[in-house]
């Protein structure tokens, strides 16, 4: 029985060696261990395609410090065990920057990355308290945490009500598992601080039945509804809102609401829907246009062009722009070859970086690995997303209290 596994192991080792000899120059590699076949497929293909396109573009311009870059995309099917396998395998091939875009896998890799001293990028997934750089040396959740994002949503609502939330009622509709439950603590704290009334509406997974939730929302009449759900659940919610005659303007979604969801709701029916985001959506972005002219117009794109017309593609561009920019910084600071420590220094010297207007500017420091956590609220006007706010990051003290409280538990 062990013979069989060993034979397979040897076979794949030989295969790996064959592939290894083909690469001539030693490129800067990023391990992209993604879930391309199970739960996260609503976003991973777009993000992976963006990563590959961006790597191509960087290489066309001469790479980083003269060395080519490479993104190695592997599927882990959202299984922690296979994520660890991907991590172990690639780290033996010299990869020291990893991105998983999956909360379970990110959680599973985190203790190893911390132990081995490898960089774990975990934008938008994984444990939010990892922004605390004093505890999580090697983990970089660049972008907003769900806590920060929820706080920014409240700040936006405060703007709408001229700075007074005392007679405002806010509903929170969320998936009843850790992803959706995470912002509750922040919202409760803010509700005490600002004096608004908070109503919680848990939605059982997978969110295909929300009839009870939205008729309760109709009864309670909240002024705004902050929504922490994904993919198809948005479509179900919008149907229920129409049935209950709740105007779309009340709906403020987490960043996981994309063009596919809007198309499924109906571009007209979705008019007024809002989302928090840390990237500029749409195609009117310098980097996006460059990729179109350099790659897709020459038939060099890494996938179908339809996938690029999606905010998650822009999200991917943002995530990987940051990773490549950090590598550039690393070369500038400590020269080639890039090592985990120099890459870490590269990340921590990012100041006000916005990838040429693609995203909220980020500033990473040794203490704040989240980059500042700025987001803005956008509204769908039937044809495009219209920004409702500047890039904001509010209630930093409240958010950091929660972060510190949570990260202290990791150290125990």
């Amino acid at each position: 029985m062990k013979g069989l596994t060993k034979a397979l192991a040897v076979f794949s080792m030989v295969g790996g060696a064959m592939f290894g000899t083909q690469a001539l120059a030693e490129p800067f590699k990023i391990g992209v261990c993604y879930d391309l076949s199970k739960a996260y497929t609503f976003a991973t293909p777009q993000v992976a395609q963006a990563a590959q396109d961006l790597a191509k573009l960087v290489n066309m311009k001469g790479g980083i410090g003269g060395e080519p870059v490479e993104v190695i995309v592997r599927d882990h099917g959202n299984e922690p065990q296979r994520g660890i396998e991907c991590y172990s395998k690639l780290s033996r091939e010299g990869v020291f920057v990893f991105d998983t875009l999956s909360t379970p896998v990110s959680l599973a890799i985190l203790p190893r990355a911390m132990e081995d001293g490898r960089i774990l990028m975990q934008s938008l997934v994984g444990r939010g308290d990892a922004v605390d750089g004093t505890v999580f040396d090697w983990v970089y959740p660049i972008g907003p945490t769900y806590w920060g994002q929820a706080a920014n949503d409240v700040a936006y609502i405060k703007q709408l009500h001229d700075g007074d939330l005392s007679d405002v009622k806010v509903g929170f509709v969320y998936f009843d598992y850790p992803f959706g439950q995470e912002p509750i603590e922040i919202l409760e704290t803010l509700s005490e601080k600002e004096g608004f009334e908070l109503e919680l509406y848990p939605v059982p997974l997978p969110g295909s039945d929300q009839a009870g939730v939205w008729s309760k929302v109709r009864r309670d009449k909240p002024d705004h509804v902050i929504v922490w759900m994904l993919g198809g659940a948005h479509v179900v919610a919008s149907k229920e809102m129409q049935r209950n005659r709740i105007p779309m303007e009340k709906y403020i979604s987490v960043n996981w609401l994309n063009e596919v969801d809007v198309a499924n709701i109906g571009t007209d029916a979705a008019k007024g829907i809002k989302r928090g985001t840390n990237v500029v959506g749409g195609q009117d972005v310098a980097l996006f246009k460059e990729i179109m002219t350099e790659l897709y117009d020459n038939g060099q794109g890494s996938g179908p062009i339809e996938k690029t017309q999606d905010v998650f593609y822009n999200t991917g561009l943002a995530m990987y722009s940051i990773m490549f920019e950090a590598a550039r910084n690393a070369v500038e600071l400590e020269g080639l070859p890039i090592t985990p420590t120099s890459y870490k220094a590269g990340l921590e010297s990012l100041k006000g970086y916005d990838a040429n207007g693609l995203m909220a500017p980020i500033t990473v420091t040794a203490e704040d690995h989240g980059g500042g956590g700025q987001t803005r609220i956008e509204m769908w006007d039937g044809e495009a997303w219209v920004p409702q706010t500047e890039w904001i990051s509010e209630y930093g003290d409240v958010v950091w209290d929660v972060v510190k409280e949570s990260s202290a538990k990791y150290e125990q």
């Binding site: 660890i84 396998e85 959680l107 203790p111």
Partner: protein, 357 residues
């Protein structure tokens, strides 16, 4: 020729009740045991740690499920939940300062108590109804884990496991983790191999075949079913705890979700119900083959210089893996263990069986 036998003939009860009725089987088992002992020195650390270690722990867990499903014949769809109980209680005990030796036993016993408590209610029904009741247990456990930060440990419900230590010795190396997993798997395997030689094992088989027929023979089927649930839950609990302590290093609800329950059941079924060696094969197929096939497909496509979309690349292994399971179950519905058994039986007296026919 291979087994140097003319057949298996028993002249007395002692020879009939041996674990290995064929000397060659025993020699093979010893040989594999020795390879297992030497594995850290002959297998590269990548394969030792990302394949061998999870394989051994999951095999121990699958053997536990095999006890209740394969031997006692009770379908169990909430096995991962039982593993979670063990994992969480052992880690909480260890975090509280209890030495790991006792923490593991506490984990096992808690699982055992909760597993059999549940079985008390569940065993009032049979067959598919029992399966659904155990599935309910899985959902109850999922709900408890995602709704009680005190158990699941705060941010994104992840609970850090303290450093594993036995007899005052901290275990931190890959080799150390491997030997812990290996030791536990060997222990469970020896227990399962002996099970069929005991009164308990025979009673379980009697219950599996027809519980009221067993009752007529004086076997209290309810008692033995509970016993099977309790024992298998103990194995599940310790395996779950070891899985977190040696492999994941932190516990999260997703590691013990309903999909995992179904995977373990698939391991047992593909491996062969009631087969010890089958559990090893089944776990290898369900746990390791997706990753290996994935690596293989990537290597082949890159070797041939094909430009395949990453998404397609991710789905090909899934298709291959699914097909593999279907093919195996078509060739031998009794699973991989039986497939191995067929080959072994064919070779047992080869080439002389040709003359007999």
């Amino acid at each position: 020729m291979f087994y140097r036998l003319s057949g298996v003939h028993h002249a007395n009860y002692v020879s009939d009740s041996r674990i290995f009725k064929v000397p060659a089987d025993r020699n093979l088992a010893v040989f594999i045991f020795l390879i297992g002992l030497a594995a850290p020195f002959i297998i590269p650390s990548l394969y030792l740690n990302s394949y061998m270690l999870p394989w051994l722990i999951w095999t121990a867990a699958a053997l536990g499920l095999n006890l209740v499903t394969g031997w006692a014949g009770q379908l169990h769809l909430g096995y991962a939940a039982v593993m979670a109980v063990g994992a969480y209680s052992a880690i909480h005990a260890a975090r509280f300062g209890v030495p790991w030796e006792f923490a593991l036993i506490i984990g096992g016993l808690t699982s055992s108590v909760i597993g059999s408590l549940f079985a008390f209610a569940a065993l009032r029904v049979k067959g598919l109804y029992l399966a659904l009741t155990t599935l309910a247990m899985q959902f109850v456990m999922d709900w408890v884990l995602t709704h009680s930060p005190a158990i699941s440990g705060g941010s994104h419900a992840s609970l850090q496991s303290p450093t594993l230590a036995f007899l005052g010795q901290d275990i931190t190396s890959d080799t150390g983790f491997y030997y812990v997993a290996f030791g536990w798997c060997v222990l469970v395997t020896i227990f399962m191999l002996n099970l069929k030689r005991t009164g308990l094992g025979r009673a379980l088989v009697a219950v599996r075949e027809k519980d009221f027929a067993a009752a007529i023979l004086g076997v209290n089927s309810f008692y033995y079913k509970i016993l099977a649930f309790a024992t298998s839950s103990f194995i599940a609990g310790v395996s779950g705890a070891l899985l977190v302590a040696t492999f994941f290093f932190l516990a999260a609800p997703e590691q013990f979700s309903v999909t995992v329950s179904i995977q373990v059941l698939a391991m047992v079924i593909v491996g062969g119900l009631g087969s010890v060696i089958g559990s090893y094969f089944g776990v290898a197929l369900i746990l390791l083959v997706p990753g290996l096939v994935n690596g293989l497909v990537v290597t082949v496509s890159e070797g041939l210089g094909m430009q395949i979309n990453v998404e397609t690349l991710a789905h090909i292994p899934n298709a291959v893996y699914g097909a593999l399971i279907v093919i195996i179950l078509l060739i031998e519905p009794l699973g991989l263990g039986k497939l191995y058994g067929n080959i072994r039986d064919y070779l047992m007296v080869w080439p002389f069986d040709q003359f007999k026919k």
